[in-house]
């Protein structure tokens, strides 16, 4: 059965074939009248020629109808599946899309030194050479995902060849599902019928790509669903270009365990190493560097197959800076070398500014913020030892105080604020700042209630005190033991946080979105937080004075204050640590908006980065996936200007390290459609099975033309043309 590139036109052609018949019928209604005397001769002639005339008319009408039908069908571009007849009369032509996996895992090398990507490119070139010159071809890269560079296959195969030549392996994660969906869209935009469409995915066929966790809404893995989509509209061939040995030991994570990184104390790090091989790995070593200087080398014991080993280590930093800590697995002899190194940038000893708005700002312990301020900035032994730099102002001074370099605003028993101050606070938190509320007896309840629930995590009710209620002082209790603020407090120890006496506190109703971290033994919430915009708000429902409680007298007070402050302060971690392919935005300090920074890449190359407007502020924007792709390669980048010096750690996506192959049979069964899975070596054999269909539009057009010619000649011979 022939198929059509434009089935709608084929249907229209069928309808158009009725036109000659209609014309014939209508023409029978249009005639001239002629009075005639010699009727007897006419009738005799008519009797004799009637049968012949009818045969002639039917023959001509059939020819006309067939010619119109064939012209219409030729326009609809029919094609026949490959066969001797179709090959004889038609031109074999197909639309083909080559999808080239250029994700990080394609860097994996074979024993001969060739990478999976090299094999994929060679196989793609072989495919291109096997294609019929009339075929339309498109090349789509997996890294492009759903965003196809071309909208349809092009008849210019040189274009595809150039795209193949220009393709380079990347270091980011590949989304095969999105790439296959894009390929389906591209191939469907072509002219060929479904039987003459083909999609070739040249990939390493990693199990992770095909059978990773499905989306919540469906139980089908995304790549399988996308492959089914392709198989419905085209022939799908999966060409395995991966290495034969898939052993890979990967450094999949490097984390800083401490929220506050200073110069006084060792900072804890953990390197996670995964064995993606099928057997236990050999013991190896891990080399740790700080700013490209080796600081220690650690033993990595054998890791069982599919196992993970966490290697902890500590680093004492020498000076305040943005330091780059990197870890290197040595002598792994695995398939993928790109994931044997991992880096992390940490901001060391850079105190974060805390603006304390005190309702009773006096010198000495009488001040409502005295204990808080000292807890935030204990006397440091040397430069880089302080984590926070508190500044205390009176509530009336808040309006005139700039907030651009403030990380946290703490309102300790502050009185009413102006509307402008409230708007500034709202913008500050929305932009990522931290707000710490410590209400006291001067706190304006109505104003706070007006702020809830948009900004505040609680709705204040009334002050409860042990004197007025003749109740025993109440004590805090842990409401959420997993919360990061409580992680380092050490649990319910005598003399600790939980033994503090809370003499006064605000009774309050937590907002639905709020998280209660500490409660009082009365059941009332005590320490609450919630997120607002890009920032965070915390509320301790008792002023930090001895009149309200004796928290400051407890050893846990300082850790609680520091943990809460570090929780509220905007983290620079996400800015300084990026995955390959992600853009990196580093805000520019005020006054340095015109300074061009110099970027040094992991390979030592240097380029200038001018500041630019980004999301309403001036920043250095390092493109992750654009034409410049400045952060596309994992490693440590250094951005230096006269005002600052930043290191940025770009890491490889850990999921790309899992090279374990998927079973072709499992893929075939999962796709449940027509799919060919072969090794790249056998790509030429693909054409034995993947014979394209032949487009016979030209032959049909020729046949239609012959019919018209025959009809003309016959009509002339028969002596009548209508």
């Amino acid at each position: 059965m022939p198929s059509f590139i434009h089935p709608g036109l084929a249907a229209a052609a069928l309808a158009t074939a009725v036109v000659p018949i209609l014309i014939h019928i209508l023409s029978r209604r249009r005639f001239r009248r002629q009075p005639w005397a010699a009727m007897r001769f006419l009738k005799r002639a008519q009797r004799k020629s009637r049968r012949r005339f009818r045969i002639e008319q039917w023959l001509l009408l059939s020819l006309r109808t067939a010619a119109v039908l064939l012209f219409g069908l030729a326009v609809a571009r029919p094609s026949l599946s490959a066969g001797r007849v179709s090959r004889a009369i038609g031109e074999p032509r197909a639309d083909r899309v080559i999808v080239l996996d250029d994700s990080l895992s394609m860097h994996a090398r074979r024993p001969d030194g060739r990478s999976s990507f090299d094999r994929a490119k060679d196989a793609a070139r072989t495919l291109l050479a096997q294609f019929n010159p009339a075929d339309a071809v498109a090349v789509h890269l997996v890294s492009a995902g759903d965003a196809a560079a071309v909208s349809r296959p092009s008849a210019d195969q040189a274009l595809a060849a150039r795209a193949l030549d220009a393709a380079m392996p990347r270091h980011d994660r590949g989304d095969s599902a999105a790439a296959l969906r894009a390929a389906a869209r591209i191939v469907m935009a072509g002219d060929a019928p479904p039987s003459a469409r083909a999609v070739y995915l040249l990939t390493d066929l990693n199990h992770r790509d095909w059978f990773n966790a499905p989306a919540a809404s469906t139980d089908v893995p995304p790549a399988i669903a996308a492959a089914r989509e392709v198989a419905r509209v085209a022939r799908l061939a999966l060409i395995d270009c991966g290495p034969p040995a898939r052993y890979n030991l990967a450094l999949t994570d490097l984390t800083c365990e401490d929220a506050l990184v200073g110069c006084d104390f060792p900072v804890r790090f953990t390197a996670s190493i995964d064995n993606f091989g099928a057997s236990t790995s050999s013991p190896t070593r891990l080399e740790v560097q700080v700013n490209q200087t080796i600081v220690q080398t650690l033993d990595v014991p054998a890791i069982p197959a599919a196992g993970r080993r966490a290697i902890p280590f500590s680093i004492r930093f020498e000076r305040p800076e943005v330091a780059a800590v990197s870890a290197h697995l040595l002598q792994t002899r695995d398939a993928l070398a790109a994931d044997d190194t991992r880096a992390r940038a940490v901001e060391v000893g850079v105190p974060r500014r805390v603006l304390i708005v005190d309702g009773h700002a006096t010198a000495g312990p009488a001040s409502d913020s005295f204990y808080l301020r000292h807890a935030l900035a204990p006397r440091a032994r040397r430069e880089g030892g302080a984590y926070f730099a508190p500044t205390v102002i009176a509530d009336v001074e808040f309006d005139g105080t700039p907030l651009h370099d403030v990380a946290i605003v703490a309102l300790t028993n502050a009185g009413p604020l102006s509307d402008r101050s409230l708007r500034r606070l709202m913008q500050f938190v929305d932009a990522g700042g931290g707000l710490w509320l410590l209400p006291g007896n001067r706190t304006p309840v109505e104003q706070w209630q007006a702020l809830a629930p948009r900004l505040l995590p609680v709705r204040l009710d009334s002050i409860r005190s042990s004197e007025s209620d003749a109740a025993h002082p109440t004590r805090p209790a842990v409401a959420d033991p997993t919360h990061p603020i409580l992680r380092d407090l050490g649990g319910p120890r005598s003399g600790g946080l939980l033994s503090a006496e809370i003499r006064r506190f605000w009774r309050a109703e937590p907002a639905p979105s709020a998280r209660v971290i500490l409660r009082l033994d009365t059941g009332d919430p005590f320490l609450i937080e919630h997120d607002v915009g890009r920032g965070r708000v915390a509320c301790l429902l008792s002023a930090p004075t001895m009149e309200w409680n004796n928290l400051a007298a407890k050893p846990d007070f300082v850790p609680l204050v520091l943990a809460t402050a570090s929780r509220l302060a905007p983290s620079s971690d996400s800015t300084l640590n990026r995955t390959a392919g992600q853009p990196c935005v580093i805000p520019v300090r005020e006054g340095a908006a015109d300074r061009i920074a110099r970027l040094t890449r992991p390979d030592g190359s240097v380029s200038d980065v001018p500041p630019m407007q980004h999301d309403g502020r001036v920043a250095y924007v390092l493109d992750g996936d654009g034409p410049r792709a400045v952060t596309s390669v994992p490693g440590v980048y250094e951005l230096a200007s006269t005002q600052c010096r930043r290191r940025i750690a770009v890491t490889a996506p850990p999921e790309e390290s899992d090279l374990r192959p998927a079973e072709p049979r499992a893929i075939r069964e999962a796709i449940d459609g027509q799919v060919t899975i072969i090794d790249a070596v056998g790509v030429t054999a693909l054409f034995g099975r993947d014979a394209p269909t032949s487009e016979i539009g030209g032959a049909v057009f020729g046949a239609a033309f012959l019919l018209v010619l025959a009809e003309t000649l016959l009509a002339a011979w028969f002596g009548h043309r209508t």
Partner: protein, 304 residues
Amino acid sequence: MPATLHEYRKYLDPAVLARLTGLELRARHLVEGFVSGMHRSPYRGHSVEFAEHRKYCQGDDLRHLDWRVLARTDKHYVKQYDQETNLQLTFVVDCSASMSFRSPDSPLSKREYATALAAALAYLALRQSDAVGLAVFDDRVTRFVRHSNQPTHWKAIVAELEHAPTARTTRLRHALDEIAEQLERRHVIVLISDLFDEPDEILHGLRHLRYRRHEPIVYHVLDHAELTFPFQELTRFEGLEEGGHLLTQARAVRDGYLAELNAFIDDVRRRCRQQRVDYALFDTREPLDRALSVFLATRGDRTR
């Protein structure tokens, strides 16, 4: 009236003739036009009563040369005589419905052509003192005008031709039988018709005339379209005599029609020859002088 006789020549053309109203006028012009172009010699008869001299022309019979004048004047003159006729001429004109057919390209209908021809021939015959009679028929003889050689008789003939009604179908056999029975003396009978009847019927009628010792002459008048069938498109032909109609693709039946018609004409011509009946086919677009020449030639044969 035209100034000179030469100008009458144009009236031989049916297209010009069609512009003249009145059969009498048509016939006069037709004859004058014919006569003006004739060779001088054969117009006058060769009877016993001398009429005039005229100069000898090449082709004149030397028997009529006036030797006395030649001897006296040394010039060649031939003697001419007013012929005393012994011919009884009967024009039998078909006025059936089929004769009213006129195709768009033809200036005259078959009936107009036939009546003009009959009137002109009658005029010519009367000028030569032949006795002329007329019978008009369709499926029977509807009008009959007695024979006379008086010049005034011509107007009576013209009046009958003009006013004969058109109706009914052609029944040649009945009409010819009727005429054959009605005429007692030997007559030259000029039948002017489209002959749309069965050949056997026509032959029967002619044979009857021959049996009664008449000498029939058949002037077969057909429209140009009937002879050529120039139609191309789908046409509904509506019968003038037989009734009914036929919707057909004209191109498709053209060859068959012409074959049938030509076979009919050939058959009629062959049968006429077998019966020693003069036969002439006329196209209504054809100038009428040929008809007059045929008539004169035939008349010459009959009177010699």
